[in-house]
Point group: C2
Chain length 335, copies 2
Amino acid sequence: MNQKKRVTLLDVAKHAGVSRATASLIVRGSTNIAEKTRKKVLESMQELGYVYDRVAANMRSQNTSTVGLIITDIGNPFFSELLRGVHNSLEEAGYTVFLGTTFDSDSKQEQLLSRMLEHRVGGLILCPVSDSSHETIERIKKLDVPLILAVREIEDIELDYVGIDYVAGSHMAVNHLIQKGHRRIAFLGGSSGSSAWQKRKQGYCNALVHAGIEVDESLIISSTVTREGGVNAIQKALHLPNSPTAVFCFNDLVAHGVMLGLDDARKKPGKDIAVVGFDNVPEASLYNPPLTTVSSFARQIGSEAASLLHQRIIDRDRELQRIIIQPELVVRSSS
Amino acid sequence: MNQKKRVTLLDVAKHAGVSRATASLIVRGSTNIAEKTRKKVLESMQELGYVYDRVAANMRSQNTSTVGLIITDIGNPFFSELLRGVHNSLEEAGYTVFLGTTFDSDSKQEQLLSRMLEHRVGGLILCPVSDSSHETIERIKKLDVPLILAVREIEDIELDYVGIDYVAGSHMAVNHLIQKGHRRIAFLGGSSGSSAWQKRKQGYCNALVHAGIEVDESLIISSTVTREGGVNAIQKALHLPNSPTAVFCFNDLVAHGVMLGLDDARKKPGKDIAVVGFDNVPEASLYNPPLTTVSSFARQIGSEAASLLHQRIIDRDRELQRIIIQPELVVRSSS
DNA sequence: CTGAAAGCGCTTACAG
DNA sequence: CTGAAAGCGCTTACAG
């Protein structure tokens, strides 16, 4: 181990011939210091290779300059867009961010929450897993750290929340398919435990019922929220005795998988079967064919969540905020 | 502020009727403790809502359980794949990870490096920006924190590195276009400062020269590494007096932009003009048309980087490692 | 197992 | 500006 000993503020102070208190003031950017002294100290820091120990400082002053962000899966472009939105605002505001991914596993979520709390994060943005356990929920309730929920809500928990109106979005999507003359419309993919799924299902059912079409439960096939999930779901759908002429997918990632599956089955999306997604990820316009989808403004959700967190950290007692973004249908040639 | 006072280990110890030392041992999972005592202490923790302060513990024991990961842009699926690779291994190993994105800005990179060091990270994985300033380079050299370079190298710096053989990859891609009968092949996108760009250019030139085709500098058009960059680059290329019949793109993201630009110009990729990308992001197979590209195994780069970092943290004096992954050409219908 | 003490690298508060 | 002291929440080392 060729570890050099860490240079401390006291080392710097001695080297510059000032007191530790003065050095501390300078490192924190105080203005009431003679320019000459400040310069001398800054030079000593340079020379000694001093690195400010923010961890020690935060501990002493009971501050924190980190926040945690827990998402489901970075492989889903929806979350990478959300991450961009969050990250920009948060880094701007001077936070250093811990990132964790749950892959929709409750135990992973537990573990990440624990770790981040043990690291004394100043706040958390959580995109909860589909089936948060009772323990997790109880725990979150007791948390005295600012926490913002994004994308999915958790029942019985009153927290700041940013999401979109899934019911309205799904309604739009399915209604669009109905307008195009479809009657047998499948709802594919997504894990049935999540609020995001349930709301989409609700929008799906609403649209059907509204058009006088009976809901056929066999056309509702859940899956993991991955491309693979989409492939599996469409395969099941195609093997149905009375297979659908159109599919509404849980999200674009699943839609991507559905298209891959259709490809395998030698069916052309948009011709043999209509496909609609959800999210409008940046890639959707370049899918083959370009995907009709519902825009869920992931980046905006991210930046709203960041700003909610920031405000909640500043003022713990402010009123609870619920921000629901309105989705938009984007029609392309897959439907 | 409705902040409860933090419960400390001493509070727990008192509550359980043991000494602080004992409580400390238990919280760290020591085995030489009577089962009865351990149980009592764990119950007290539960009851009081104790949260282990890993920050204080790390400070005292001069440990660290965090690592930093600095990438260019999460919007690029290449990096989200890489992130997945890194993240899995690192979280597995018990680290909590700080994420930073530079958007290829040197000052952002500086800032992120500073912040992470101030947070006492135990190690760093850095995907350096295209033009790291001299200061940054000097600084990195002096760092006594384990640091792994990924994706791009920095001249004059001897560090563990994981990347792929860009020269070979580009050579494959361009050679493929030559085999298809193309003579006027453009190289579009990417920032000319980066080693990744220069190596791709080298592979591009090698392939041309090898086939007896003269390199036409006007066909080499750099850009930002974004979809927008790709759109701009193809527009410039199409306005050339003698426009290309095929384009080799810096990466799939740029290729995506190029295809969007071709769309605007009413040209069909794969028919009117051949397009080849680089990276083989998961979406590439679903582009319209499916994109011929060179696979750069982003996820593998990520997991290799994580494992290098882990090993470097364990043994500072081990030999430098350079891992160069061999790319593979994936032919689809865009060429 | 206990108990008392010292220390990680800072900030805070205060008398001068 | 200085100097000395106390403290953030832990771990470490040691005598008992």
